[in-house]
Amino acid sequence: MKYSKTLSLSLLTLMLGACGGEQQESANLHGPDPELPEPQRGLLPSMEIAEPEQWGDKRPIVPDGFTVTAIATELQIPRQTLVLPNGDILVAEGRGGNAPKLKPKDVIAGYIKAKGNTSVESGNRLTLLRDSNGDGTYEEQGVFADNLNAPYGLAFYDGNLYVANQDALVRFDYEEGQTQASGPPEKIVDLPSEINHHWTKAMTISPDGRFLYVGIGSNSNITERGMEAEVDRAMVWQINTETGAYKPYATGLRNPTALAIKPGTDQLWAAVNERDELGPDLVPDYLTSVQEGGFYGWPYSYWGQNVDPRVRPQDPDKVAETITPDYSLGSHVAALGLDFSSEVMGAEFSEGAFIGEHGSWNREDPVGYKVIFVPFSDGRPSGEPVDFVTGFRDEDGTTRGRPVGVTVDPRGALIVADDLSNTVWRVAAQ
């Protein structure tokens, strides 16, 4: 791990100030109207890779009035979680993607980035966790289903358990209390999976159970694999649960990594990861309500009508129709988890959304590596985000965990999947 640190430092030194040395925590990076600096990119991109370390006696830091416990460890790359009606928790485990390395750069960057991630094999399974007596200790842990293909999005409605693999949407029958799937799943529809540069298929379900919403990330950072690779990418599909019929629900969303319906409404929300290599404070990852038929900019423009000069041919018509997202989470935080809160999380955190931030890899001054809470009022995000779970990464780069999916457990807890330490954390209100 020393090596990667040294390497990243020497890369930074080589940049000769091309990327502007000092980083001040600029006043206005979050919220509805973030500051957008001029795009910049030195000859070498900034890379600051996490240095993995065991948790040992350390624990994530949670606000007063909350406790944190590891309810499952030694998983095989936990990503997203789902709380079933009886309180059992399902954990989707795996690693996807099969993007070929097209340039010398891909070979080098792939090697460096791998140092900041777990080296555990992809689980390709769902693990079920059970706490029979409700004491917060999940004493039962078993494999609910395996032989899946990098499962990520999970949704449940009335006896149907939906799983979004990296290449297909599948369905299991589920009866309350079941600890193991009764058989292999039934495929509802294939999902776009060629290349799968961004492979995660985030998912949520409409309140009436009729439609699934599946996020399909772009096949590149900014079209460097060609526009042909971007057919059916960077969009959210709406899929009929009965027939498997689908349509693009919203487009131009570069990498919609987490989807959720705001409780009490039919409104879909998405956490979206934006493009890299335009500088440390571009482009903000965001939380936004998703309008049916809306276009959100990728690849032609970012944060509304800011044209990205790296895309050829350009498309001024698409730029003109781009919707500006609702709420900036900050650039490069890598928001991978989203769930709406409720009164079970206590008065201070009752109205708003929790966001799991995996953390940056291409920013000199790392950001993310925590779970935040975005307060809402009148159904809209309002105010600065609040740190909810921290302590995943130290100042010196030592990193014990990286949050992914977050799920509110109606019993009064936030379930956080951590794909670096392969742990599921439970942050319970006391």
Partner: protein, 143 residues
């Protein structure tokens, strides 16, 4: 007679391995330039992938030629001046070629137009280095 011709030949050129490494830089850097021109005109991204790999290949051969040239400088004797000029040209080619490789590591159109300009300069430098290397120097090994 044959021996005389051989001797004459050896006196005129650098070592064949050195010459091969040196001459290889031209098609590789020129290939990168042509690929850049194709990407510039068509927006077809595959051309920029070709350019990136051709540049990387050019840098490998260019680097090996620099090693040969460094050895040659020490064995050049009276020709040292020409050899130093040759070495400087090779190193200049490599440095600009490396900067060009970093430029080509940017995504999509961010490569342009700087990448194309650098490819022109690097190709010209490689031609100059090869010209000097193949016409003005003789192999130290032949002495």
């Amino acid at each position: 007679m044959t021996a005389t011709v051989d001797r004459h030949y050896q006196h005129q050129t650098i070592h064949p391995l050195h010459a091969t490494l040196l001459a290889s830089t031209i098609p590789l850097f020129l290939g990168a330039l042509l690929s850049d021109i194709a990407y510039f005109n068509t927006f077809q991204i595959q051309w920029s992938n070709f350019a990136s790999w051709l540049l990387a290949g050019g840098l490998v051969f260019n680097g090996l030629a620099i090693l040969c040239a460094i050895i040659g400088v020490f064995r050049a004797g009276a020709q040292r001046g020409k050899y130093v000029l040759y070495l400087i040209l090779l190193i200049a080619t490599w440095i600009l070629g490396f900067i060009n490789a970093l430029q080509h590591a940017k995504d999509a159109w961010a490569i342009m137009p700087t990448g194309l300009v650098l490819s022109v300069i690097v190709t010209l430098l490689a031609c100059a280095a090869t010209w000097v290397g193949l016409t003005n120097l003789r192999s130290g090994a032949a002495e």
